[in-house]
Every structure is written in C-alpha cells, then in structure tokens.
C-alpha cells in the first residue's frame, strides 16, 4: 500500500491515518432485491491484482469515508474521492491495465 494518501479534504497524509474497509465496487441492493444480489453484496469479493477501488476512512483525520482507486500490485494511487461523491457519480472502474513495472513519475499523493 502506498505510504502516503492524498485525502481530498486534508491533503497528503501517512497511511497510518487511514483504515481500510474493502472493495468499494459492490452497491448495496434495494431492500426488496432478490437474495442472490444480497448474497453477492455481502459475501462475494474479487481478489484483485491490479486496479481496484476501495473504501478507506481517514480515521486519524477528517473521519470521512473515501474511495481510493489504487493498484494493488504496483501500489500506485490513481485517485481519492469522498465516498459520498463516489456514490452519487460512480467513477468508471479503472480499466487501465497497469504493468508490473513502476509507473513513470511520482507515485503516492494522488
């Protein structure tokens, strides 16, 4: 995981200030959705190697829930947005396939 995360509210902060929850992809189904949808929401997760969007809370700072789009392999962070904004305007899941090689330029931050 990146050592630094750029909180949209607080700026660049060390990883220790954040707490991970997990995949931000699954959307909570409607209360009357079929059971399969609920089962998938609660239980089914991909073990992603590559780009992934995750819920993190800036628990040691503003306490806002964020969506961190990052590469689980290279540790590059692509974007960090407030979870409230992510819910309203779902960001397309990052489709860019990243190679194992390190990306050019600075990592971390955002």
């Amino acid at each position: 995981m990146a050592s630094l995360i750029n909180c949209p509210h607080c700026g660049v902060r060390p990883r220790e200030e954040f707490t991970i929850r997990g995949d931000a992809g699954p959307v909570r189904p409607a209360p009357d959705a079929d059971f399969g949808a609920w089962d998938a929401y609660v239980h089914l997760r991909d073990n992603v190697r590559g780009p992934m969007a995750e819920h993190w809370q800036h628990s040691g700072g503003c306490r806002r829930w964020l969506v961190v789009e990052r590469d689980t392999f290279t540790h590059e962070v692509f974007a960090v947005v407030d979870a409230a904004d992510y819910t309203r305007v779902p960001v397309a899941k990052p489709a860019r396939a990243r190679k194992a090689a390190n990306p050019a330029g600075r990592r971390g931050g955002a």
Partner: protein, 1169 residues
Amino acid sequence: MSFSRFSDGGLIDRSQRIGFSFDGRRFEGFAGDTLASALLANGQVLMGRSFKYHRPRGLLSGGASEPNALVTLGAGGLREPNLRASMVTLREGLSAESQNRWPSLGFDLGAVNSALSPFIGAGFYYKTFMWPAALWERLYEPVIRRAAGLGRASHAPDPQDYEKRWAHCDLLVIGSGPAGLTAALSAARAGARVILCDENARFGGRLIRDQVEIGDLDGPGFAAEVADELAANANVRLLAGTTVFGSYDSGVFGALERRDGASSGPAQRIWRIVARRAVLASGAEERPLVFGGNDRPGIMMASTMRGLIHAEAVRPGNHVGVFTTGASGHETARDLLARGLEVTLVDSRRDIPDAERAASRSARVLEDHMVADALGGKAVSAMEVIDRASGRRERINIDALATSGGWNPVVGLACQRGDKPDWDTNRGMFVPPAASDGLMAAGSAAGILDLEGCLDSGARAGAEAAAALGFKPKKTSIPTVREACGGSTGFATLWHVSEARGKAFVDFQNDVTVSDLGLAVREGYGHVELAKRYTTTGMATDQGKLSNVNAIGILAENRGLSPDRVGTTTFRPFYTPVSIGALAGEHRGAHYRPVRRSPLHGWAEKHGAVFIEAGAWMRASHFPRDGESSWKPACDRECVAVRAGVGISDASTLGKIDVTGKDAAQFLDLIYTGKISSLSVGKARYGLMLREDGLLMDDGTVSRFAEDHFVITTTTAAAGEVMAHMEFCAQALWPELDVRLVSVTDQWAQITVAGPQSRAVLVRIVDEDLSEEAMPFLAARPVRLHSGLAARLFRISFSGELAFELAVPARHGEAVADAILEAGRPYGITPYGLEALNVLRIEKGFITHAEIDGRTTPGDLGLGKMVSAKKPDFIGRVMLAREGLQRDDREQLVGLRPVRPDQTVLAGAHLLKPDTAPTMANDQGHITSACWSPNLGSHIALAMLRRGRARHGERLIAHDPLRGFESEVEVCAPVFWPAEEAQTVNTEMLTVEHPAVRPAPPAPHDLLDGLFTGQTGQATLVMGSETLVALVTGPAAKDRAVRRVAKAGDGICRPVQPGQVLVVGRSGESAEALVTRLAMPRGLSLCDLSDARVRLMLAGPEAAEILAVFCALDLASGSFKPGASAPVLLGHIPAQLTCVGAQTYEIMVFSTYGQDLAESLSRALRLAG
C-alpha cells in the same frame, strides 16, 4: 610483524587518547578511530569466530557490510550484540566483547566443527536432525543454537530513549561520497530543501579514505568544504551516522540515526523522510576474491586497507600481499609503497593497463597469477601464488593481504520496491534498474567508478532532480581531479580460484563455501532463492552485502548460465539491522499504546480503585477496603451493597454519539433493528445493531432529547467500530440524509447510581421530581442539579436494579461523584468497579461482547422481539432472514448453575451431555460468562447451548480440559436474580429527609502538573486558557456557511470535515454570549465539546521539530501558516492541530487522551532539550 600504527599521518587526533577494552583487555586508541581500526592499531587482528566452523576471523570489508568483526557492546539492558566493529566510533570506556566463542576468542572449543566440516556442509540441518521428532525442541535446537550463532540479545529492559521523527524534503541524498556531496550541493544551490544522510560519522565517503586531489584540495579537504557550505544552508539537513535502511512507496524513506555517546536526546532515532526526489549515492562494495583460506584474519579488501592507512594511520605489517583483478589493488599497492612497506602484487590479468602498472611500479608484480591459498592460523602468514600459465606454485610470506575482485554497486535501496538490478556484461556488475519513482542512482552506485565521473554524475543528478521540481539549478563546475591509476576502473571477473586447496569462503558470515554452492546445485537447489535458503548464503546480519554477487557468479558457473539468468534474491528493508527499540520509539511500557482515562479516573483513584486495562481505557476494577486481600472479597461486598442498598460506578467509558440533523430518526431506523423514530422525546430505548450479514454488532441505548437530537450509547469495547460503521452508513450508503454524528464520549462524566436506594440518594443531588411518575423507567432528559449545574439524567440499568445514570460535563465529574458519595453516606453507598458490574449483569442475564461474539443473532440471545418485522430496511435485515440464522437448533443463550453451588465454572468451558466423549461432534455449546454470585451464594454462568431454550432443567457437563476440571451443571433461564426492579415507590424516600448536596465547583485540572514543559529558546508547553469549544455542524453542502460561523469564534477556522468545524470562544465568554455572537443560520447546530477537548499550546523555535515526532504534516514548509488548522494523528492520538501564531501551535486533543499526550509531548521536549 602484525598490524600497528604509523607514527604520523591519518585523520586521527593523537592528542586525544581513548581507553577501551576488548574481551576484558585494556587498549588505547585515538579520537577518530573506530573500534576496528583501534584494535588493528593495537595488533589485535583476530576479532571474532565464524558462525558454523568457529574459524578465526578479522576485519574484512569494514563499513556497513562487515561480516566478520562483530562485537557485543554494553551490559545488562544496554547490551547490544552483532555490532560491526567498523561502525562503532571509539569512545572512552567502551567495553566490547567478541562473539560465538567459548571459552575464549583465542582458544575456542567450537573450532572442532572445522574438523567435522565434511559432515556439516550445506543443508545438514535438513538432513540430520529429522528424527526422532521429540528431540527437535529439547535437544537439537538448543545445541545447534549454542554452537552456531551470532551474539546474544539481552533479556533486561533497555533503559535508553528512542525516538521517531518525520522529515520532509525536495531531495534526499543517500550517501555523502563524491556523488552524494555534489548532488546535495547542486540541488541546495538551486534552492531545494535537501536532506543528506551518511551512515558514517563523517561526510565524504571514499574522499576521506582514498588519496585523491580535487582542484587544490585533498579528499578530506574537499569533503569538508562541501559539508561546510551545506551546513550553512538553512534548507539543508545533514544527518551523519544515519543509515537509510528502507525505500518505501510514495517516496517515503526510513533512516536510522545512531547517536552513540550523545550526552542528551535519544540513543537512536528513526527518521521517516518524505522525499519528492531521491538520489541514491550509496557507492559500491569491493568484491572479495574467493580462494583457499580467504577468511584468515589480516586479509581484507584493498580499499579497506587503503582507508585504514589514510584515515586511521593503521600499518598492516611490513610486507603486504595484494591480490587483485583490477585497478584497486594497484592503488592500494601505491599507497602501501608510499608508506615504505614492501608489496607483492598478484594480478590475475595478463594485460594490466599502463596507468595501473605505473601506480604499483616499485612493487613485485606477478601478472597472470592468482593467490590459490592463504596460510596461517589466527592471522595470515603466507600466500601460495599460482602461475596461471604454468600452474607453478610459490609460497610468499606476508603480514597482510589486500584483495580486490572488482566492485558491486550498492543497489539495494533502488530494488526494495520490487525492481531487479540489471547485469552489465561489459563491466561485470549488477547496476541499479532505470531511475523510477523519483529515485535515481548516481556515482559508483550507478556503476561509475572513477572519481571525476562520480562528482559529475552526482552534480547532474542533483540538478536534474531540482529542475524536475521547478527549481533553476546552475551548472556545478567540477575541478580537475587527480587519482591513482588515472581513474582507470576496469577489472576482470574472477568468481573463484578453482585451484584452491583450503576452504574458499563465499559468504563469510554464514561459512558458505564454493563447494556448498556446488552441492546445492547438484542436489537441485540451484535456483538463487533456493540456494540462499539451502546454504544460508546471504542471510544473517550482513544479508550478503559482500557475498551475494559472488554466489550468483558461482551458481551461474555451475549451472552454465550468465549471472543475469541466475538473477538476484529479493531486496527488502532493512538494509542494515535496526534494533526493535528504535522501531518501537516511545511506544513501549506505559505508552505502548495511548491510554484513555475516564473523567472519573482521579475520583476512582482517590477512593482506592484498582485499575485494569480494558481496551484503550484504564477502568476501575474494584475498590478494595482494609482487609480485602484480593479482588474477590471486594467484588462480593460491592455486589451485595448494590442489591441491598445503593452503589455508584463509572459509566463514562461507554461510547456516546450525538446524532442530529433533520433525518436523524430516519437514519437510526436504518441502523438499529428496532423502530427508533417512534421513540418519544425524553425517553430512552434499548437497541441492537446488526452487521450487514445479520449478526449482532453491538447493543446500547438510544435517548431522544429533541425531534432531531438523539444520544446513543455503545459498549466500551465497540465504540470505535460503531462510530466508523455509522459514519460509513451516513457518508457512503445514505449521503442524501441530513445526519451529523459527533462523538461526545469525552464530554460527559457518566455516573451510575444503582440499587433500591438510588432514588433517595439522587434526590439530594438532582433538583427535579424523580418519582416513578415523573421519571419512569427509560426516562431520559436534561435536568438541573441543586447546584444549578445542567446535566442529563437517564433511568436505565445494567444491573437490574432501580438505577440512574447521571451525565455531567466531564470537568464536573469528580465533584459530582463526591457529592453523590456524600449524599449516599446515610444509605451506605458503595463505589463498585468493573468486576462487580460484570457479576450484576450476569445475575440478570444481560449480554456483553462475551455473548455478542460475531456469531450470534438477536434470536440466539432471546432478543428476537427487538427486531422490527415492519421496517422495510435496516442494516442486516435481509441476511438475518437466512434460514441458517433462523433455525431452532442454533445455540441459544441459557443460564447454568453448578449442581453443587460451590463448584467453579469458567467461561470458555464446553458443554457435553453426561457420559459422552469430548469431541466436536458431541459439543453442545460453550460458556460465555461465569462468576461467583454472592447474592445467590452460587457460581453461575451464561452459555450458548444448542436448542438451549428448550432444555431448561437438563443436566450437562462443563468440560474444561485446558484448566483441567469438569463440573456438572443444570440448564436454566438466563436470569438468576429474579427480583424485578423495585416498582413500589417508597414515598418516604421522596420527601427529602436529608438536605440537598451541592457539588463543589470543579478544581482546574493541570495536565502538565509535574511534567517537564520545555525551556525557553527551544519550545515550551502550556495549557490553553479555558474557553468554550464546540463543533458547528451542518450538511456537508453548507460547509462554507459552517466555516464562516466557526471562524467568528476566535478568528480561526478549525475544519474537521465538510460540515463540521470546531469553534473556540473568546477567553471568559459565556455559552450564551458565544451562541448569540455566532448567529447561526437555520440548519446548522452547535454541539458543546468544551469538556471533550483540552487545548495544549506548544511554542518556540523548536516547536515544529517537536511536532514532527508526532505527526507527518510538513510544518516547516511554510504552508502551515498562522491560521492553518487540520485534524491529524499525533502519534496514535487523534487531535486538531492549529497554528495560532508564529512558531505557536494549539493542540486540541480528546480530553480522555489528554494526560497521555501531555506525557508524550513532555518526553519529546526532554529529548530535544
């Protein structure tokens, strides 16, 4: 003749003699010596014994890579093993011990292993000690551990201080050799913020150990000139004695600063450096040559010998052999000859470049020769030289032998994030991967071995980094350079001398020989990662800094591949060993993690409480009286007192969350299983929260103070989890709802008064009608005390008695609790602690997280009725309906009584039907909570039992094999104390027969009392003045309005998150005056946190540096100006940091953490002083 000291020259200060001891013998050295150089100068060439064969060993490479000269320093808690003698700066009184020898370094019985070596080659552990398995732990391991090994760690606590600190820079330069110095210089001259680290005590790297000329300066002179210029630049931080040990994501580096012998401050400091760019100028290690007996004391790297001559004036005897495959050997020969020593130089090459020949021209040079074997005992005495053309051997007596097999760039830090180094076939070395992530290698770390090239490559790298960050670097001109061999740097690759007769060591620290590697290949462990583990090459404290490349070369040879096909093992932090103490920093002992203290901590302490750790909290366990020898009699007495009369205890640690906003009720309906929106104002309700998978998360109470204002409580243990969960629901799941969550745990001292007499006691305190009609069960409302203090009163009970919880602002807690004690004295009021609380709740069958263990549903615990069947949605509703969570054969909560009341039952025991075997298949459930009930005169327990509710009356066995007992128990309902809450109102009690008691005004609490608070001129810590602190909240969309309102407080806006901004009142301002002045628009609300926060003020020129111990904000960059404010983590404690003026910071911290943080800040001030 052995090693001694030249009578002149060197960089040592002969006027400063330093006494030290080695294995009990007294020696003398000079200022400027390392332990290694001082030992050599005293003729002590033998410095240690090897890991496996106990062979005599001496200094090999010096520096950080030294594999042999390992010593233990200090005694008791200060004992530190495995220190490289070459990295220990000599200081008066230093006492060093050699390692891995018995009975002494000179006479070591373990050396018998050498004779046994045919039996203990590579992999012998795996082949030999296989059976019988019973002997693994008792015999094999201890014996092997004792015979084979490094130094021993101390078991005593380390009394030294350690510290961790953040630092920020534009450019981090790792290593201060020629390339590092010019990189730092060119970036610093361009205006960049630079940090320059070097693991040695002096800056300069090879400049202070080689004989070179740069312009009209010598090496040390040039290094000093550059270091002086850097030191004078305010943008540059110079860290000597500091090893960068790790390169992490996002440009964060870890470095260890050793401060041996420093008179004040920490013994070691870990720097966490956030660098926008980094230049790796870590230099190159000279590659050892692998020939027979190449480990004998007195054999060392050619560059190491040069350095010892120039820097510490160590004389390596009279006649020195040099075995080289390149220029370095000739350079060493030149320097030995210049000092008047006799030199025999053996060069494996036939065509030695002219410049190299010129350097060593007065030595006897044997070209196209090799050293096949070195001979000698505790020191080298001769070398056997072989003519490559004829195979003829010649024995030559020598006092010391310098060897050079070329160079290995130190690439580790460039590869720790997963990149692999590249094999450069032309130059015969692994070079760093292409520059990436802002890290660029320069100088010999990049494979550039000549001095001029290093100076130039460093200057370019520094300028390039500065330019990339927007600075405008000027060209740094490099003066004319003169060095040995005219800068010739080539060398021939020679992986090992196959004509060797004796043991030829590849890895010195682990005693791995050429033949071990051959064996590994033959036995199928030829892959570089497997060979490492099979032979242990590249393991232990030096991690193969000298050996890895040779091992790869030899594996390549054996497998018929080129070295790049064999590849390297994985590079990981730490580059050199880092002590656990340094990594722990201040987080040990009482500060292992932050301690929260209840507002009633002092009150409980005053009344004799014994505290126990409960999560982050220190909680009162019991209040022993004279004659009570353990917690048990105190707990029994307290339990009886509550049931018979009245008791008082501290409930402040329960999580308390203030829930406001237009949609607060709707939100809580989604969070809890029950319907909260129907709760009347002034009432409380018990509530359950599920996880989304339908299992219980937590329980607590919900109280409604207004249509849009609730206060909920959580269990102490789950407070953090519940807050984060609710924030997730509010922010990520339903951001459209207007709901604002504020933790008010720290704001209130919550005092439980429980027992049949509790009402009679409280009427003396609370100026309200507390009758059954006015204050019925589950009433919750604001009240006033007789003293006029505003408080909140809840009629809720966790003991099953008539009980109240009185919440008062935290600072009033102690005075109010004392007043309640005073009011309760006629009724025999008794303070009770956590132990009694636990007994009381088990007697009533109330649940805690012993029962809410992540596997239980409300139904399992008999709380199925609390789950609304009507609400369309709440967290966990759908999944709770799963068949598996609704089946009636699930484990259900029951009570258990032992058939013999005096028979102990303990939580954790499993339940079995009588006469069944203790197997998983027969398991009926387990005991979750158990205690001795003094009120019932019996042990009692709560348990989860399969189909438990249908089995009341059945007898079972409580099986406890871990603690070794069984008891027969009878299943019953999970309620042992049958008495219903005393509903009959004793009207007599309501007539105030005793006068009202008014709590005294609170005494100001100085967190800094008795603590060191710094000194003027550096930084000082004081308590902030008493002012109102509150949180202005509003919908996130109205953040600008919220900020505007909050800024009106004292002129500074302290944002926490969108829609939540802290406001601080003016000194002496009343709450009413502040509210009036803020003139809040509709939709915003104010939550008083005056008692939930304390303010500490840190001021002075060093204030930012002190804060760097705690937080990662870049305070020095100028971006955190007066008026700036941010929520941060200080150490492990959340706080709001505000710059209130030049070099002046306000630290606003949760009040229950206040004491802990004050102590930590005080410690940092002491270490800085």
